[in-house]
């Protein structure tokens, strides 16, 4: 905010300010700046006059009023008793979250003690205008209504917030209020406001806001206490080096109020104590030892130089594009955006190294090739008799990674959808995320065109998605296509047999659901209904971390990716439940007990599903191909097209070799091609003492090597495989 003021950008400063507080016009005029006690300028000319800066930022701003977003309506009802600032804040936050909120105020006006401020400090017109915001978000306001202990609302409401100052004691319970959650001894009743401290507008706002978080959690039946450190006012852990800073005296306004010039001068005194919130929460930024402001500046100003600098390619390709930095940043700076644009620029100027995304792009090509890709309307006949309409209303799009990791669950999910909606088609292919992450607009456009053509052929059905990365891609690139999350559908129409849970579980939200709270809610609801007790991770929902699959981080920078997964794993000893096949795989690969929520919905009970090993890359391809083959045969009575010659090569891989090729990203099909070529052309080497053959082949840009022996049964035993990108010959 101070930076924007220095630059004379009052509208920008206003935007930053109102992002952190509700009712910015009121706060800016009444803030009692408790934070000043901690300002680092104290001994260097005097603390910064924060409240005056706030006031100037709203008064000099030309920013139009904020658009307020409201989440879909929820069933639960909340009563707010008391129309003072803490009650208003709680009402505002909860109504925006979709709750049905009733606010009761004994007086004939909202605002409570805000009316004690002078007209000069807080003009009545502003007070009335801003308190009206709560009606705009759907709060039902009951003025002149005192809520006696006999009032029916005590029974009707699912949760109640008391924001009525000291007189709360007339209701007799809030004598004991838990300070972090604001819950009283009566579980559905919460209390805050000047009941807990001397009057302070900013502290009242803080209470209302934090109580709203508690009530939201209470109504969603999740832990009230998990991950609530650093809420409200807390002692910063920020270290700011003040050595060598000159003292600059406080700038005082010559009139009552600051002029623009004066306030700019005062803002200039702000030291800009570095925050580094993003660096603290991201292994990638930590690894590269800087922080986004610096990077973004470099990326924008100096792209060409940056692209040429050594190691910078790797820097650009290692970001998970997960958006966590933007979420934790007080100024919304999301590195993912400029990084992705830089990747696109690199591709356009032929500076993108082939290796970084090659594996993921070939995987995508596989998914969109004939081995996996298909699009069909529902089979006729069978259970739930498909309506004999030419077009289906829905199509299921399971995504490539789920199909490859859990083909059986994919099949069951499809069958559940047909039982539920009858006419549900099936579309197997990749959503195009790997091309998007790789900055390959060309490949993405191609995949998009293919999807559009198929989707049109099916009659433009609504698309049901299981994978959250697909969901993100559809939201961003197919605004005209109606999409549904499988988890929302299952939460509404599914069955919830009780499963045995031996301990609470922690939910890992895939980073691509960061802003999809409805999906996060559905998954929690499904799990709870099946008997699971959920303990939230400190970083969940909009603050969730990436498993390292995002942005192809895991391919571009293995050491950083491993640190990122491990950091996530270390956050809790509980079993992780997730709803993305890749997240589950990344945890399982590092030995973390983890399940996919499908394990509870469709999985058996005999094995410990949290211990099932991750599915390897070759198996993943194989599973996809088999899934298509099986479904075509069983549901549509069709067969797959001819096999290529190399596919008939049978391989035996001892465990250590299996692990080796997995680490080296060498697929069974790559090795099959090498051996098929060697056996057909005779181009191979032989070692008399070991009886091994050694051969190489370059199907596209990578040369693969396989050392093998032919077996009596016609199969081939693989001893080792490796690859390189350098080419033999000039």
């Amino acid at each position: 905010m101070t930076l924007a003021i220095v630059a004379g950008d009052f509208s920008g400063a206003h935007k930053v300010f109102r992002k952190s507080v509700p009712f910015p016009e009121i706060i800016a005029r009444t803030c009692d700046q408790p934070c000043q006690a901690k300002c680092n300028r104290e001994t260097l000319g005097g603390v910064i006059r924060v409240a005056d800066l706030e006031r100037a930022s709203v008064e000099f701003s030309t920013e139009p009023p904020q658009k307020i977003t409201i989440l879909p309506k929820k069933k639960s009802r909340v009563a707010i008793i008391g129309g003072g600032l803490s009650g208003l804040t709680a009402a505002f936050d909860l109504a925006r979250k979709g709750y049905q909120v009733d606010l009761f105020e004994e007086q004939n006006q909202l605002g409570g003690r805000l009316w004690d401020f002078s007209e000069e400090q807080l003009p009545r017109e502003i007070l009335e205008r801003e308190t009206k915001l709560i009606a705009q978000v759907g709060v039902k306001i009951h003025l002149n209504e005192r809520v006696e202990p006999t009032h029916p609302i005590w029974d009707e409401a699912d949760a109640i917030y008391l924001g009525i100052g000291k007189s709360a004691s007339v209701y007799s319970f809030p004598q004991s209020v838990t300070p972090t959650t604001f819950q009283t001894s009566q579980p559905k009743v919460f209390a805050g406001g000047s009941l807990l401290h001397p009057y302070s507008s900013i502290l009242s706002v803080s209470d209302g806001c934090r109580a709203a978080i508690s009530i939201d959690r209470f109504l969603q039946k999740v832990s009230l206490t998990a991950s609530r450190i650093n809420e409200g006012a807390y002692e910063t852990r920020l270290y700011t080096n003040l050595a060598g800073l000159a003292s600059v005296e406080t700038i005082l306004p010559r009139q009552i109020r600051y002029t623009k010039e004066e306030v700019q001068a005062e803002a200039k005194r702000c030291i800009q104590c570095e925050c580094m919130e993003c660096v603290k929460s991201c292994e990638y930024l930590k690894h590269y030892g800087g922080y986004p402001k610096k990077y973004v500046r470099e990326i924008y100003n100096n792209m060409s130089m940056l692209v040429r600098a050594r190691t910078s390619n790797n820097f650009i390709n290692s970001c998970a594009l997960c958006g966590l930095c933007g979420e934790v940043c007080p100024t919304d700076l999301n590195m993912g955006q400029p990084i992705k644009e830089t990747r696109e620029k690199m591709v356009e100027t032929s500076r993108m190294p082939a290796s970084a995304h090659d594996f993921a792009l070939r995987d995508m090509a596989f998914s969109n090739g004939e081995k996996f890709a298909m699009a069909k309307n529902a089979p006729i006949g069978g259970r739930g008799e498909a309506m004999l309409r030419p077009y289906n209303e829905f199509v299921y799009f399971p995504g490539c990674q789920l199909s490859g990791s859990s083909p059986d669950y994919t099949e069951k999910a499809y069958s559940f959808l047909r039982d539920t909606f009858y006419d549900v088609g099936l579309m197997l292919r990749c959503c195009g995320a790997p091309a998007d992450w790789a900055g390959r607009k060309d490949l993405f456009a191609q995949s998009q065109a293919e999807f559009r053509a198929e989707h049109e052929k099916l009659g433009k059905p609504k698309v049901i998605l299981t994978c959250s990365s697909c969901y993100q891609v559809f939201q961003q690139y197919y605004p005209d296509v109606e999409i549904l999350s499988f988890w929302d559908v299952y939460d509404q129409h599914g069955q919830f047999p009780k499963r045995e849970f031996f301990a609470p579980v922690a939910i890992h939200d895939p980073c691509s659901t960061r802003y999809e709270s409805h999906i996060q809610d559905s998954v929690r609801s499904i799990l709870t209904r099946m008997g699971g007790e959920i303990q939230e991770l400190e970083l969940s929902r909009e603050k969730t971390e990436c498993c390292s699959f995002g942005g192809a981080m895991w391919l571009a920078n293995k050491p950083v990716a491993e640190k990122a997964v491990q950091r996530r794993i270390n956050e809790s000893p509980l079993d992780y439940v997730t709803y993305c096949a890749m997240c589950r795989n990344f945890f399982a690969k590092r030995g973390k007990r983890a399940t996919h929520i499908f394990d509870y919905i469709f999985g058996g009970t005999e094995a410990d599903l949290a211990l099932v090993p991750a599915v390897g890359f070759s198996q993943n391809h194989e599973n996809r191909a088999r899934l298509k083959e099986k479904l075509l045969r069983e549901l549509w009575s069709e067969t797959m097209p001819e096999q290529a010659a190399f596919e008939s090569i049978r391989l035996t891989l001892p465990d250590d070799v299996q692990k080796q090729v997995e680490d080296r990203l060498i697929l069974v099909e790559d090795m099959q091609k090498v051996i098929e070529h060697a056996e057909r052309t005779g181009k191979r080497m032989f070692n008399k003492s070991t009886q091994h053959y050694l051969a190489y082949f370059k199907p596209a840009s990578v040369t693969y090597w396989v050392e093998y022996t032919s077996q009596a049964d016609g199969s081939f035993l693989v001893h080792k495989a490796y690859s390189h990108r350098m080419e033999i010959g000039k």
């Binding site: 390619n313 005779g682 181009k683 080497m685 032989f686 050694l694 990108r725 350098m726 033999i728 010959g729």
Partner: protein
């Protein structure tokens, strides 16, 4: 670039097609428009080349990375 592996470890290899032992000789390898002569085992008859595992994963990977970051 010269030699990045121990040729004595690979003495037993023959070209299966031509049935002659693989012999040390100059081979060009290239990447992203850069070409380097290297000493490698090759078939003196048909030119089949042997790139050992340690060289593919060692020096070659290193050079690939350096050239990509250039």
């Amino acid at each position: 670039m010269t030699q990045y592996f121990d040729p004595t470890k690979y003495e037993g290899w023959v070209c299966a097609d031509c049935n002659v032992p693989m012999q040390l000789g100059k081979v060009d390898i290239s990447y992203l428009g850069n070409s380097f002569p290297v000493d490698l085992l090759k078939c003196p008859n048909c030119g089949l080349v042997l790139i050992p595992e340690e060289m593919a994963l060692g020096k070659m990977a290193e050079v690939e990375k350096a050239l990509e970051d250039k």
